[in-house]
Amino acid sequence: MSARKFTLGSVFLYGTLALLALLFLMPAYMATVTALKLPADISLPTAWEWPSVVNWASFSDALVKLKPDFINSLILTICGTAGSTVLGSLNGYVFSKWKFKGSDVIFTLFLFGMFIPYQVILIPLFQTLRAMNLYGGLPGLILAHIVYGLPITSLIFRNFYSQIPTALIESARLDGAGFFSIYLRIVFPLSIPGFVVTSLWQFTQIWNEFLWGICLTRHTANPITVGLANLAGGQAVTWNLPMAGSILAALPVLAIYIFLGRYFIRGLLAGSVKE
């Protein structure tokens, strides 16, 4: 690709990329077009066509229906993200800079928790939350998200902190700084990017979660994913509402992704490739 000439290769390259990009954008286009139609204008054969009359009311109608769930999800996501990120940062600090005998084994045991299918802990989680009187509401769900978020947040911070030179920590120790003052004065100020990456990752994960939402919350504490599934479920749906609802439910994470995509990708890579 030295010279950007009009060659057969570059025609193939740009042609294929354009085609793939269109395919990837197709669902987004369909959702937008359908959301903007009047219910009466929606028919299967003309589903791809731009609406003759643009109907913004779908969005406000969907918002009215989804608003309580949207607020639940906001509370849930903010609390869950904050809790798991702060704990993950402390764990990562210990795992990378204060290794003790067996800490690597413990770290690997932590990671395992990231890869289990959550069905395997669902029944005891359900029973435990009921016994703690936390079943059905947001606090129980927040607790679950904090606990099961620990493996990934600890992993991201551990990898992040292993880039901080150990000499820096050592010299601080010689100056008499202890465990917490090293964290507060040296490690924490250096780890703002780590906090951004981790909390964006957790935000999208918690916002998008569905299984616990449907199994562990009552109607009043449903997160947005459950609300959307209810809105779209049922047989006689007018499709403009679910589509508008989908766009609303996707907006927060989509915004994160479009404006802070760099950090989102770093979180995504941290979750799979190590160092």
């Binding site: 740009y14 802990i121 669902l122 994913t225 959307l228 589509m243 996707a250």
Partner: protein, 394 residues
């Protein structure tokens, strides 16, 4: 308690005392580090390992039916009965089809998402104009929740609309395939033969590994892999009849075509993820190495085939692990696309939910969860052990 006093009183002994103090501070710091980690250790210990143990126990009881929703439900130990019932029982047919679905689903998702993601990454590695925008377009589906993408795809795959009418705009006949409600199945097999099929698969894997290793060390490949594989295959072929039937009646399972739409939607959502992984990997390969390969006469295709892709084997492994994990807990997307109780597109993860929370058969649900867990562990445990060993070497 006397230590600080002594430091003040005898300045001559300051150095040893101070290092003594440092030692004590250091061990105090180590204690603090341990105590900081302790709450998380307890939480993960209880919520991950304790809960898995609890589910294993539950799967060996008869917890279910009336009275199962009380906080202290009645449970009696029944051993492996739930598992035997799932795999060979009269009422386990649905679960068995779900399991078959999950296997086909995982294989197709892996092939599709790794293949397409790698292909897009290679295209973007040519540094076309607008690379940033294109990357954003290919990756945005990954940020969406499965409920959002499932809702949209359900509409896209409606029988008389969406994808099916697209060919009309290019002058072709519209498609008539029933994406999510087709009743046809291909690659059908009889569950009675499942033991024989498993042995065939094992033989096939042995032979494939043998062929793969033939170039490196022909003698060992033939002795260790090829011959055992061929012998095993021949044995089942001749004596397969001796193996017991896995079921007392004929029961057919296959690849349900109704799951094609769900597989397509998942590939759409996750090939951007593999693309990002490979792209990061390609960018990490030095330009020098690339130039060297080109100087040696490697073509573009040859460079990726023989240099770049083999170098990125760890990335391929990560992608396979993450994607198989995703396909095993596939719940949300199927829920949103076909509803939780569509038999043709069922999945053990959904079956577990329905059995447990709709049917109140907790023990049976736990057994399904453990089956899922064991399949997941087959992939993950070797991966994590490998990662752990690697840490030790650094």
């Amino acid at each position: 308690m006397n230590q600080p006093l002594r430091v003040g009183n005898s300045p001559g002994a300051e150095r040893p005392d101070q290092s003594d103090l440092h030692m004590r501070e250091a061990s105090l710091d180590k204690l603090k580090a341990f105590l900081t980690l302790l709450p998380s250790m307890i939480l993960v210990g209880v919520f991950v390992y304790g809960f898995i143990g609890n589910t294993i126990w539950t799967s060996m009881t008869d917890w279910g039916g009336t009275g199962s929703m009380s906080l202290e439900p009645q449970k009696n130990f029944v051993g492996l009965e739930n598992y035997i019932d799932l795999f060979t029982g009269f009422l386990g047919g649905g679960f068995r089809q779900d399991l078959v679905n999950a296997v086909y689903y995982s294989v197709m998702l892996l092939a599709g998402a790794v293949g397409l993601g790698m292909f897009i990454a290679i295209l973007l590695d040519q540094k076309p104009k607008g690379e940033d925008l294109l990357r954003t377009i290919f990756l945005y589906p990954m940020s969406l929740s499965f409920i959002v993408s499932g809702t949209i795809w359900r509409w896209l795959l409606a029988p008389q609309g969406g994808v099916n009418v697209l060919p009309k705009y290019f002058g072709f006949e519209p498609l008539t395939f029933k994406w999510l409600s087709s009743q046809s199945a291909i690659l059908v097999f009889n569950w009675q033969d499942s033991l024989r099929i498993l042995v065939y698969v094992a033989a096939f894997v042995l032979i494939m590994v043998g062929l793969f290793k033939l170039k490196k060390d022909a003698g060992r490949a033939v002795k260790r892999w090829l011959i055992p594989g061929i012998v095993l295959g021949a044995l089942v072929w001749v004596f397969g009849g001796i193996l017991p039937d896995a079921l007392f009646m004929e029961e057919e399972h296959g690849f349900n075509l109704a799951t094609l739409g769900i597989i397509m939607a998942t590939i759409w959502q996750y090939s951007g993820y593999t693309m990002a992984l490979y792209l990061a990997g390609f960018n990490g390969i030095s330009q020098d190495l690339r130039d060297a390969a080109m100087l040696d006469g490697a073509s573009q295709v040859g460079y990726y085939r023989y240099v770049a892709i083999p170098m990125l084997k760890p990335i391929t492994i990560s992608a396979v692990i993450i994607l198989s994990h995703i396909s095993l807990k596939m719940f949300d997307l199927i829920f949103a696309m076909t509803g939780p109780d569509n038999a043709a597109t069922g999945h053990p993860a959904l079956n577990m939910y329905l059995t447990t929370f709709r049917g109140n058969e907790f023990a049976r649900g736990a057994a399904i969860a453990i089956v899922l867990f064991l399949i997941a562990a087959m992939f993950i445990v070797p991966y994590l052990v490998g990662q752990y060993r690697q840490q030790g070497r650094h």
